[in-house]
Symmetry: C2
Subunit: 457 residues, 2 copies
Amino acid sequence: MARSSTRDSIGNSATDSAPNGKVALLGFGTVGSSVAKILCERSNTHLRLTHILNRNVARKKVDWLPPSVQWTENIEDVLCSSADIVVEVMGGLQPSEDWIRRALASGKSVVTANKQLIARCGPELISIAAQKKQQILYGASVAGGVPVISGLQMGLAGDELFKIRGILNGTCNYILSQMESNGVTFTTALREAQKLGFAEADPTEDIDGLDARAKLAILARVGLHCNVSPDSIAAQSISAIEAIDFEYANQLGCTIRQISWAELQNKLQTDLRGKPQQKEAGADGDRLLAAVQPALVTLSSPLARVEGSQNLVVATGIYGGETVFGGHGAGGHPTAVAVVSDILAIAHSKQDGMSNAGQPAGQPIGKTPTVSTDFTAKHYLRFLVKDRPGIIATLATILSAHEINIDAVLQKPGYPKSHLPFLITLEDCKASLVEQALQQINAVDFLVQPCLHLPIL
Amino acid sequence: MARSSTRDSIGNSATDSAPNGKVALLGFGTVGSSVAKILCERSNTHLRLTHILNRNVARKKVDWLPPSVQWTENIEDVLCSSADIVVEVMGGLQPSEDWIRRALASGKSVVTANKQLIARCGPELISIAAQKKQQILYGASVAGGVPVISGLQMGLAGDELFKIRGILNGTCNYILSQMESNGVTFTTALREAQKLGFAEADPTEDIDGLDARAKLAILARVGLHCNVSPDSIAAQSISAIEAIDFEYANQLGCTIRQISWAELQNKLQTDLRGKPQQKEAGADGDRLLAAVQPALVTLSSPLARVEGSQNLVVATGIYGGETVFGGHGAGGHPTAVAVVSDILAIAHSKQDGMSNAGQPAGQPIGKTPTVSTDFTAKHYLRFLVKDRPGIIATLATILSAHEINIDAVLQKPGYPKSHLPFLITLEDCKASLVEQALQQINAVDFLVQPCLHLPIL
């Protein structure tokens, strides 16, 4: 990869070649080395990589970086240096948080890909940066190389967004699309994803939705101006999905995806042809419906067509309707593109003496809404029962007692009576109502396992 | 639409309520009135609409704007005013161009949705703006509400893009998707589009690709840093497409769309898994392949799934692979979102004393490449012949003499011998080679009409 132009473009030791673009890199793993590579290979950017920090840095050294780059294990080397922009791509809450705070305090701007940190401390870190007339940008923290944060903050600044739906976790999407197309079990798909490096040895963060809800919390802040803690967003694991669920979903014209969604309640509603309708009386917009969960999506929806480890975000505004952003949600190079885009934005604004490029333009101050998952939708209930007469009657009686209307009952042939899967779909009703009914249903003796409950979006 | 908060938010006549956000609107048609509506309905933006200019302005007046707005037919009223930002949504080359030049010269920034003007004079207007420490933004000039310009300029600034493909004309996409799903003729689909207001009485600009190539010229400049005149981009009309072409396309696993595409030749090529491959020896990147034309796209491609008047852009970079932007490409409200986003970006940067927000960050100076349509692809040749023995042999001989390999021959049954359509697909070869062969082929006497030649992308 060493090209003669590489050294010329960033190896020049005269500091005025990068008056506001001296970059220190914290972390030299997959993303960090891709960031270094792009900074190295791209000329014309007026950026210069000055430091690389990593544990056991000796074993990390590569020969394709100019000798002027200082390799270190000591954060003080970076903090005391003349670096203008500190790039944190180590991950983890600590020491990342401390080091970012100290970098901001010492008058450096920060670019980070750290979703958990930004989901938890984003507003505070942004406020510290503003006090120091610095910036902290985090475009790589959601959906890797897909420029959704700048898209929501800048490109759609003129709209009032009220709904965000996305596929924000490539691991879950890989597993679910494998189950869909190859008919394999969850366990098989997970093992394959682990073998291919798409899933961690401990896949909990991905599978259980904890990764995606941190990203959703960031999108809700950026797009819906709602300060919500990731912990306040309900997350449901995809591990209960079985092959049979894809068969039933398909019969309904749907597939199953891990969907991250957030919707401001009582906002102006739109009929999706871009015509805003009357705001409801007494609306205050201070309630956010949000969750990360496996859900049925119609096959014609862009969400259903996201394959493998791709990411997609659909933002809906009262004026512009639906806007879609899609692409590579992970991987060293795509994530590094987002990081370098942020570095360029900061360097550009520093050159111009501006302190807050990339911060939202003229947008309302963040609300701190109550978060609820009590949305109204059609519902998918998949049962696994020991067959006997009267099962449907029992379930129908319980549902009816909760004033829930059954939409359809489906039962595929060819399963043993001792483990018989079948499906009930419900007409539009509140999720909380279904959960109440399910408490009662899950206590009946013919169920082999608790009912799987998914929304139909 | 008059809400009590409306007047409060922008009707305040104290000028310090909008220190850098006084907006004059040139044009009060569909887009202009949507811009006014958004400025009116959105609070917290610190923007204030001060002037509306239109011909016969008296008949344009509405009751939902605050009385402080000055309605005028005279551009001097705007140019002499204290408006900070002039928004041009009149369309047409003149007087738009003169008025934009005069607005910039008098120290005002400009937001425009005028694709033909920006495609033709964009760089010069940007340079005039820079001299005056002002900005000209044009996010609404391509793909309406889809934030693709800011996405390429800011969100993907860290990548090196080498290919852009898009569906940039909603009228053509509406017509082609109607032909696809309802099997109607081009003429029927066009008439329907005209009835519904999706196509103009004179639809030439749309149908023949002149609208889309202006947008493509802008995208090539913004994303590929190539200064190309729209006139140098070949445009092929969609009017020769017939219902039978959708049947044949479908047999090939494809559909037909008007595709606007531009690709830097000899750029680093990527295998689309985000891994850049070696640059070709002697590569200079100074040749641009570009065209607007009906083309076959595989049904699994995001381009094939764009329905009705939606727009979609796929940008490919050597680091980040493919990134997709999609949404409403036209309509008053979506286009107005793009306009208001630009207004906000300018107001925000003015507030911060910065002169060039929204201009590309750290990007190379534009190249002026030669433009060619001589791409290498598989090709679709649809013939309409008066049947007789030896037709295939004649065609095969001519193609073979040009060293073109036939991939497949398809002929659907059920057509009269006097007007028999059939299909030949060609293996990968240069478009110019096919055109040479077609010159000879179109001279043979069994053809009822010239061969329809489309690329298979």
